[in-house]
């Protein structure tokens, strides 16, 4: 599982210099150094691009998180850890906003991977049991991934409108009481849940495909042998299928956590945090602090928030990886 397994690029036999006679060793040393140069030449474009586009921006962002700046004055005002303190507890307007955004992010971060696995795994199992139409269905299921982005968000907005098709559908099947007269995204009770459903809808395709590949990689003889030994369906799933799918589940969960933590495009485009801050998330807050505060000196706070998100994502990933490894 490439997304998860620790690929160790150095674990290759025959790489080190051989230890024989001094002269041979010297010649081998020269050859090794030539090898090094070739290696560096191959990685040079990637490293160069990172030095230009990545290092500067990361360094700048870290430094800026310890300063106050509005983007226009020539000098930064150094404030040390103040930005972090303001965000976490000290600032009477920022801290509560951050806490509610963090809560929404946490809800989404939990619901998206759970929902994705809950839909994608049964779907993959079903798809794996049928032969006919499998290719066609797989393509159809994959459409949401390919189209996700601004276009499909507008399509969702269109169907979620007050007079949109979701409300009409509910009314036509006699569930009119569930319809949302202001539209699903303008109703504080449903806005966040609706967005989560759309994110799950967009992340099921890749998860489903990964599960399907995992299921097809299971050796049929193994299953047959288990059945001959008298293992029932439940036991086969518990002891053979599921353990093999754990790494895939871990990868899906990790990607889900990362994307929900860091992504905010759907929130920006569909609700922009509304109604009344009910769909405000951390990424969106950082974006607004960085780009929409005009002359107030919030750029440092925005950077600090970005790094808090980074730390949280890293921490959650490590915890998640540990939990899944120990449950295996």
């Amino acid at each position: 599982m490439a997304l998860l397994n620790t690929i160790d690029p150095s674990g290759r036999p025959g790489a080190g210099p051989s230890r024989r006679s001094p002269r041979r060793a010297r010649r081998a040393g020269r050859r090794a150094r030539r090898q090094w140069l070739i290696g560096y030449a191959f990685v040079a474009p990637a490293v160069l691009l990172f030095l230009v586009m990545g290092l500067y921006t990361i360094g700048y962002s870290v430094t800026l998180s310890f300063a106050k700046w509005n983007g226009f004055t020539p000098n930064w005002e150094w404030v040390g850890l103040d930005n972090y303190r303001d965000l976490l507890y000290r600032d009477p307007t920022l801290a509560p906003e951050l806490r509610s955004a963090a809560r929404h992010t946490a809800i989404a971060m939990l619901a998206v991977p759970v929902g994705t696995v809950a839909v994608a795994l049964p779907l993959a199992v079903l798809l794996n049991t049928v032969r006919r139409l499998r290719g066609l269905l797989r393509s159809v299921y994959f459409l949401p991934y390919v189209t996700t982005g601004i276009a499909v968000y507008y399509a969702w907005r269109y169907v979620l409108e007050p007079d949109g098709s979701i409300n009409l559908l509910l009314r036509s099947v006699g569930l009119g009481s569930l319809a949302r007269p202001e539209g699903w995204l303008a109703d504080p009770d449903t806005a966040l849940a609706t967005l989560i459903v759309i994110i799950i809808w967009g992340s099921v395709p890749v998860a489903m495909l990964l599960y399907l590949a995992g299921l097809q990689a299971i050796d049929p003889h193994l299953l047959e042998a288990a059945q001959l030994d008298g293992a029932g369906g439940v036991r086969v799933v518990r002891h053979i299928t599921w353990p093999l799918l754990v790494p895939i589940t871990a990868a899906i969960t990790l990607l889900g956590i990362r994307d929900t933590m860091q992504g905010f495009q759907i929130f920006l485009l569909m609700t922009n945090g509304g109604p009344g801050g009910h769909t405000d998330v951390l990424g969106l807050q950082a974006y607004q602090l960085a780009f929409f505060q005009n002359l107030s000196p919030t750029l440092g706070v925005a950077s600090a928030l970005g790094w808090l998100i980074f730390l949280a994502a890293l921490l959650l990933t490590v915890v998640n990886a540990r939990l899944l490894r120990s449950s295996q």
């Binding site: 191959f42 921006t57 700048y60 007079d163 395709p205």
Partner: protein, 282 residues
């Protein structure tokens, strides 16, 4: 196996019917907003206001044609193609070279560099967005297509390096050594042995890069000012920003935006699916 069973006249079991019903249901869920996108794009102004049916009463191409020509969607399509094409090309060149070095070559610092690139997966885009804009402003590339392509290429580094390094490592080392004995240099081995054998992985990377780049909105939004350089997502946003949203035009614009990626996916799908599946099997 199933084909022979079907041929011998075995009736579909209840379980199979339930399976197909479930699969069909989710197919409908997958297609739902997309179906309304097509439906909306085929409605005229009166009908879109009345809302309602999935099948337009008086389907018309006028909305699509008007969105395409009056709103200059062709120009935006070209801009999008340019940005996406250059990004994909850049990603494939830069990171196939680097991944080859990580997978096959030996040099000090290889491990560190590899993990460094992978660790970048955790740096949120929003954290570096502002410095990026400031940097590009200083370099004089803010608002140009190059100013989008460079950070896009850089941004795919973690996942691309991870997937391509893995793909190259699955190629038997003996092939490399045999080519070596035949007198081929590393560049030649890379070009003639490793790249052709990794075609599914490369196509997977191309699709995984092209789709988000095509749809990218945030960096494009904050960096582009000149309307003539807008990509399709910005054109669509411009179209949708009127006081009263005209959903038929918005759906027509959305359709123009999604059709190229759907075509790309259908063309690349065989390789793409195998490439992703290959990433799991190892």
């Amino acid at each position: 196996m199933n084909a022979t069973r079907a041929a011998t006249g075995r009736r579909p079991s209840v379980g199979r019917l339930v399976a197909y019903a479930g699969l069909a249901l989710y197919a409908a869920v997958s297609l739902y907003p997309f179906a309304w996108m097509v439906s909306g794009a085929l409605k005229d102004r009166d009908e879109i206001l009345r809302g309602g049916h999935l099948v337009p009463r008086r389907p018309t191409w006028d909305t699509l044609a008007e969105t395409w020509s009056r709103l200059h969607f062709f120009d935006y399509l070209l801009n999008s193609l340019r940005v996406t094409g250059l990004t994909v090309l850049g990603v494939l060149v830069v990171y196939s070279l680097a991944s080859y070095a990580f997978a096959v070559l030996d040099f000090p610092g290889r491990r560190f560099l590899f993990w460094f690139f992978v660790a970048l997966l955790f740096v949120p885009g929003i954290t570096v967005l502002l410095p990026l804009v400031i940097l590009e402003n200083r370099l004089g590339i803010l608002g140009t297509h190059l100013g989008l392509v460079l950070p896009f290429v850089n941004g795919t580094a973690p996942l691309t390096v991870l997937l391509l390094t893995n793909a190259f490592r699955t190629i038997p080392r003996e092939l490399h050594d045999a080519a070596r004995v035949d007198g081929a240099g590393e560049v030649r081995i890379f070009w003639r042995v490793y790249l052709p054998l990794s075609r599914p992985a490369l196509i997977t990377i191309a699709v995984l890069t092209a789709v988000p780049t095509w749809n990218e909105y945030v960096l494009t939004r904050v960096s582009l000012n000149d309307e003539s350089r807008y990509t399709l997502p910005l054109a669509l946003e411009m179209l949708a920003s009127g006081n009263v949203p005209r959903y038929n035009e918005i759906m027509a614009g959305s359709l123009i935006l999604v059709v190229p990626v759907i075509v790309l996916f259908l063309v690349a799908q065989r390789y793409f699916v195998n490439g992703l599946a290959g990433a799991v099997k190892d």
